[in-house]
Subunit: 420 residues, 2 copies
């Protein structure tokens, strides 16, 4: 089935807004085995919209239109959809009632111009939007099925998953359930992960298991879609696939599905009844800033400190001075901040950055120490790639070492991104 | 002049990459008074590319094609450009020599498949790419002028500014120099800024001054384009415009052009020979993480600490306990960390977050204190909008109060985003 995405709006066309809805829709469809063949972007302009509808109808079986369902005069989607389909705009009493209820629940009066959002093409099928006032709808234009969606990302996402994808799967004749399983890893590049997972798709000889990747440094996301007649069959197929990935990628998997590295660290600390303190240098607060925003982190993170001045670091760790030996500094700092804060676990991530101005081969030596009571683990690695790259890498490595420490995995395991 | 942007590549079409090149090109053209009327996205597919070229040629005067100039087999732009223009692909000795030189300078041998990048349509005009091996080029297809650009953002940006925009301005008959002036502000929303700047465009009755905004919470970017016959005229027009904006937006301007709020804070501290220490709670290291990455910040930021535990905060500030009175806590913490770190300036940003789970009307009370020797300034504000919104707001407000303190501006000036 050929699918087109048609994004509308002056703010998107002029680049005032980066069009992340497009990539969201396209990726989400791919997760369900559906492929986008064309993307179009036009402004809030009647002639452009009409031309775009006609062209899309000519080359696609299904068209997802994003934006233009709001209450203001420059929101033209309903009007132009009706015109393109050759039908009248009629007031949907159903949607009007839904909107009035929506405002009532928020103790507000519905502004009169919101009424426009209940004007739908006569042949439209309503696509529910439980989180906003923009009414989604589907209708046929010149032989293609058009799905009109709101520009607000939260509303779009809900409608796409609950309303549109099931309809597209039905249209495409796929009488199947599709499940997306995701693994987040740190330390292996896309091409090596691809090699490590060779043979995965053959676990299902009927082609119902598909492997894909999405790299966002320093993490790699491994995406596996499994297709089956029903959820039972999907679960049966998923089990060996999941076991295969866990075995092959092993300790490099930092989290699965909607979970995160920092979330796993928090969960492990909560499970152990532990508390945390962090000291960082060149990462300048980024490790703390990754961990702290999580609900519940405030009961675990006792104190975080950042400084690139050795004397300040020593003072914050309650030490008269840092050790002379570079390799001993991280351990001394971790011990010191554990004592100063009373936390059960201490993480010190220190970076010795190369001299000179920023450049692609500027590197840093990362020294990490984790202390919990008598248990001490250390990690040293050299990373290249410029200031920002080193900073991101050190932040990730610090959190990952802590995860490994908490889960009883080897803390010092070589990764693809280190040199020498 | 009608301009279309045509983005190519499976990674962009499938959403694996968020298409930020599109918004970059569109915004950059707008900065020069040029308007994009249509956007198209297709994959690495010969039929789609050919169809897209033909459609674009039919509706636009100029088409900017992005991507597909690489050395691999799925890079099809040159091949399809030649086919669409009805000309042969020929080897450009000029570009081949450029590439060989490029590799030589890096002490590397050119891989044989890079030769493909020097194969250009016979009628192509080369668009120089001083930062990569992809050769940009321009040629006519069915009456429209096509500009082929690399997908690598750094290469695209350079080529767009140096090569393509001058050609587009020439094509559009605009015999003019255009200058973009930007102001970054914190504390006023887009609609109020629009009202505050009423009358700005009338400073140039010939319509050569244009006002625009780009909001990215918590900051607002005010963009002013000034057009003139030459740079002298632009400068003459720019002077009253800049003075007008500075007077109207006044203290809310945190930085201009490529400068940043944290950059201004760093510059003011360096100018004063000062050093800084920071204490934060709910922002959890974000204030430090904004300031610390700047080159030179390591000589100014002595120590940063983050904790949501009152006892830890007191200990980090060398206090036996925090004061009972909420309003006094921030000052006590700022004084304490100043003494503990020996820094000349101390910033404490404390947030009392509402109870309960995250929701759109969850708020926080932000209490800020800045101490430098005997000088003490405080700020208190209530902000709503959910956890992430409050966190971003408190980070920005903390840095902005410090900027105001350092520049001798009123620290406690009401902003649009606070309630009550």
């Amino acid at each position: 089935m050929r699918i087109e995405i048609l994004c509308t709006g002056d703010e998107v066309l002029s680049g005032k807004i980066v069009n992340s809805n497009f990539s969201y829709i396209s990726q989400k469809l791919e997760d369900f085995g559906l492929q986008v063949i064309w993307g179009t972007t036009v402004g809030d302009d009647r002639d452009s919209l009409m031309a775009a509808f006609r062209l899309a109808a000519g080359r696609a079986d299904a068209v997802i239109v994003n934006g233009g369902l709001g209450p203001t005069v420059d929101d033209l989607s309903q009007e132009m959809a009706a015109k393109a389909a050759g039908v009248e705009l009629v007031l949907s009493e159903e949607w009007l009632a839904r909107m009035e209820e929506y405002f009532q629940r928020r103790s507000r009066i519905m502004p009169p111009n919101n009424r426009k959002q209940a004007m739908l093409p006569a042949t439209a099928e309503i696509l529910d939007n439980p989180v906003g006032t923009a009414c989604g709808f589907a209708l046929d234009i010149a032989g293609a099925r058009f799905f009109f969606t709101p520009g607000v990302p939260r509303e779009l996402r809900r409608m796409l998953e609950d309303q549109i994808i099931p309809r597209l799967l039905k249209m495409s004749g796929v009488q199947a359930v599709i499940h997306l399983k995701r693994f987040h890893s740190y330390g292996i590049g896309e091409s090596r992960a691809d090699t490590m997972l060779a043979g995965l798709e053959e676990l299902a000889p009927d082609g119902s298991v598909k492997l894909g990747f999405r790299a966002h440094y320093p993490q790699l996301e491994t995406k596996i879609t499994v297709r089956g007649r029903d959820m039972d069959e999907v679960q049966r197929k998923l089990e060996p696939v999941t076991a295969f990935v866990r075995e092959r990628l092993g300790n490099f998997i930092v989290a699965e599905d909607d979970r995160t590295l920092e979330g796993e660290v928090l969960a492990a600390l909560v499970a152990a009844g532990g508390t945390l303190t962090v000291a960082e240098t060149f990462t300048g607060g980024q490790i703390a800033a990754r961990f702290a925003p999580q609900p519940g982190a405030e009961r675990v993170l006792r104190r975080a400190v950042a400084s690139r001045d050795p004397d300040q670091l020593a003072a914050a760790a309650g030490l008269p001075a840092l050790p002379e030996d570079d390799a001993a500094v991280a351990v001394a700092v971790a011990r010191g901040i554990a004592a100063a804060s009373g936390a059960s676990h201490a993480l010190a991530v220190l970076v010795a950055l190369d001299e000179g101005s920023d450049r692609i081969d500027l590197g840093g030596t990362i020294r990490i120490a984790i202390v919990a009571g008598d248990r001490v683990e250390t990690r040293e690695a050299r990373v290249l790639g410029g200031r920002e790259w080193v900073r991101l890498g050190a932040t990730e490595m610090g959190l990952d070492c802590l995860r490994r420490f908490l889960l009883g995995l080897p803390v010092a395991e070589r990764i693809d991104f280190e040199k020498g």
